[in-house]
């Protein structure tokens, strides 16, 4: 079953008087439970693609289906609700909420979902334990290293059991060792919880972790292969 289906997706940015074809006719199907990398050099359209799949941005043309929902017909509130229930985001710059502790950051998503507070707390602790932060519950983002912050971000993204987690260059700000261990953790979560991961990267080492590798260049899919490790 396909959890994401993009058909002839186009996105054109107007920069000064120049047209930038960020996505030029991209079609892509992603199966549930996959662990997939979108690879390509800087400017190839990775972020644009992930944002469109996650409903943060809208395609100019083409169709995007996420877990059966046609994104182009949805309002901002509906998109936010879809993201809340079905999509987790991990960003290159971590983007945790600075005034909340690690535990509260993870809880916040469940608060939005209306999960009762005791259950919220239990689940947040369990997931932080899973990502290896069992003694960091009460630290604020400023008191955590980059790798630890990104682990909190992954925990926040997967705690509500979304259909997909979109991670835009999650290791770009980390050294290679920390990056590798983050990916191992993500892979482990993918296997344990059957969460679909879609992450972008331009790093060969990171690509090696992917079970499927989609290569983008100038807004077009130039290669798509199942990856043998």
């Amino acid at each position: 079953m396909n959890i994401v289906e993009c058909t002839n997706v186009k996105k054109i940015y107007q920069q000064d008087k120049l047209e930038v074809r960020a996505l030029n006719d991209v079609s892509l199907s992603i199966k549930k439970g996959d662990f997939i990398a979108i690879a390509g050099p800087s400017g190839s359209g990775k972020t644009t693609l992930l944002n469109i799949i996650g409903g943060l941005d809208v395609a100019d043309s083409g169709r995007v289906l996420v877990d059966g929902n046609v994104l182009s017909t949805m309002s901002q509130t509906e998109l936010a609700t879809l993201r809340l229930r079905k999509v987790g985001f991990v960003f290159q710059a971590y983007n945790l909420i600075l005034v909340l502790s690690a535990l509260e950051n993870v809880e916040f998503v469940m608060l939005l979902q209306g999960v009762p507070s005791s259950e919220r707390r239990e689940r947040a602790k369990a997931i932080l334990d899973d990502v290896g932060l069992s003694d960091m519950y009460d630290r604020r983002p400023a008191e955590l290293s980059g790798g630890q912050q990104q682990r909190v971000a992954v925990a926040r993204a997967i705690v509500s059991n979304p259909s997909i987690v979109l991670a835009d260059e999650p290791t770009a700000n980390l050294d290679s060792k920390t990056g590798a261990s983050l990916l191992e953790m993500m892979e482990h979560m993918n296997e344990k919880k059957h969460v679909t991961f879609i992450f972008s990267t331009h790093d060969k080492m990171v690509m090696n972790y992917a079970h499927r590798l989609v290569s983008l260049r100038d807004g077009q899919v130039v290669d798509d292969q199942v990856h043998e490790r």
Partner: protein, 412 residues
């Protein structure tokens, strides 16, 4: 504590200086409003009481139509029947009888028209400040016949002093000519120019003889124990006099009906005050607006993230409104406390005002005034601040809904 509220609280203290400034602005506005409203409402109480004490009392019983026509024939024929009702009405502190007749008053030099008022000297003391404002000579006594108290300005116009004689010429109740000669026993100055220029007081007994009143009077003037008792008293007295003589209908009039100008003056003063208050609050509102717009501008990226992880626009609005509600509440509560303390200090010690306002001068208000803390004076101002800051906070809180996550996250 819920995460929402925790988050709002911590966000407020991310920029402590700005938040404290905003809270102070709100607190200061509330403080000022509590004080000024207490002052304003308190001065009305003083004003009303001092005016009513020289003039109309809290309540009068008169013949129907007397207030407008002032005809000497519209009398209360049996004053004792009415006083019996007043005696039985709870809340009545004191009452007296008066009779009035517009007459010509002549000295050797000049003639002026004036209101000749017959008073019961003993009872009058409990009702009005007339005795206290006699500056020259002395107050009337029960037995004084053909002796008069004259307003200072009237005395000046007539060019008379203590002991001088005045000829009074008017029309009696029965239509006959009423004429007498009175000696100036005292000169009073109430501070109300109108009153001091056009009135002259003699004893009620004397008046009834001269104007052939046959025991009738024009007004029963009553004071309640407090201004708040007046509506109750009025109701009781009105039902009492309803049952009396059908031919000579009587009415009970409260001070607002007797002195419509006073209420009008107060209303105008209130409106003036409120214009000032609104300006004050609008200034504060702009400072709040500035705080919230800055906060949104600085935290755009964070709002983008919140939206990306599934916060709906409404939820974002709610988060911001919680923040502004906390700031507003902290400001208002501290403003009310500080304002009440300041007001309470002056309520005990009073404030001396040198350049009294026109309205106050006109009604002869004492120099030392006392603000009056009340539920009303505390709640009106802070309520206004609450409503206006909420409306102000609504704008940025709704504006944030127009943010698009991608653009918001791109900003630093």
């Amino acid at each position: 504590m819920s995460i929402d509220i925790k988050m709002a609280w911590r966000n407020i203290w991310r920029n402590p200086r700005r938040s404290i400034l905003t809270i102070s602005a709100i607190a200061f506005a509330s403080l000022l409003l509590v004080f000024m409203l207490s002052w304003q409402l308190g001065s009305y109480d003083t004003m009303i009481n001092s005016v009513l004490k020289i003039h109309t009392g809290h309540l009068q019983v008169q013949a129907e139509g007397y207030k407008d026509k002032r005809s000497i024939r519209l009398v209360v024929p049996k004053p004792t029947a009415v006083s019996a009702i007043l005696d039985k009405t709870p809340g009545v502190a004191a009452y007296t009888f008066r009779a009035n007749a517009f007459s010509l008053v002549s000295s050797e030099e000049r003639t002026y028209g004036a209101m000749v008022v017959g008073i019961d000297p003993a009872r009058e003391v409990n009702i009005s400040t007339l005795k206290k404002v006699v500056r020259e000579g002395s107050y009337l006594s029960e037995e004084d016949t053909n002796k008069a108290l004259v307003g200072e300005l009237l005395a000046k116009n007539l060019q008379v002093g203590l002991g001088d004689e005045l000829v009074v010429l008017g029309q009696g109740r029965d239509g006959s000519i009423a004429a007498t000669v009175v000696k100036v026993k005292g000169i009073y100055s109430s501070g109300l120019d109108e009153f001091d220029r056009s009135s002259l007081h003699i004893t009620l007994k004397n008046f009834q003889d001269v104007y052939t009143m046959h025991g009738a009077v024009h007004e029963l003037v009553a004071l309640g124990k407090s201004l708040e008792d007046v509506p109750e008293i009025k109701k009781a007295v009105a039902t009492g006099i309803e049952k009396m003589d059908k031919k000579h209908r009587l009415v009970a009039l409260d001070w607002m009906e007797l002195m419509p100008g006073l209420i009008q003056g107060i209303k105008i003063d209130l409106v003036g005050g409120f214009i000032f208050y609104i300006i004050l609050i609008v200034v504060v509102a702009f400072s709040i607006l500035n705080t919230f717009l800055m906060a949104i501008f600085e935290r755009k990226r964070e709002f983008g993230v919140l939206m990306a992880i599934g916060t709906t626009p409404w939820r974002l609005t709610k988060l911001l409104l919680i923040e502004s509600a906390i700031i507003t509440m902290v400001g208002i509560v501290s403003g009310i406390i500080a304002g009440s303390l300041v007001t309470w200090y002056f309520q005990v010690h009073g404030i001396v005002i040198s350049g009294a306002s026109e309205l106050m001068k006109q009604f002869g208000i004492p120099e030392r005034m006392y603000p009056q803390l009340s539920v009303l004076s505390v709640s009106i101002g802070s309520g206004l601040v609450l409503v206006i800051t909420f409306l102000t906070a609504l704008y940025p809180a709704l504006k944030v809904r127009r943010l698009r996550p991608v653009e918001a996250m791109r900003s630093v």
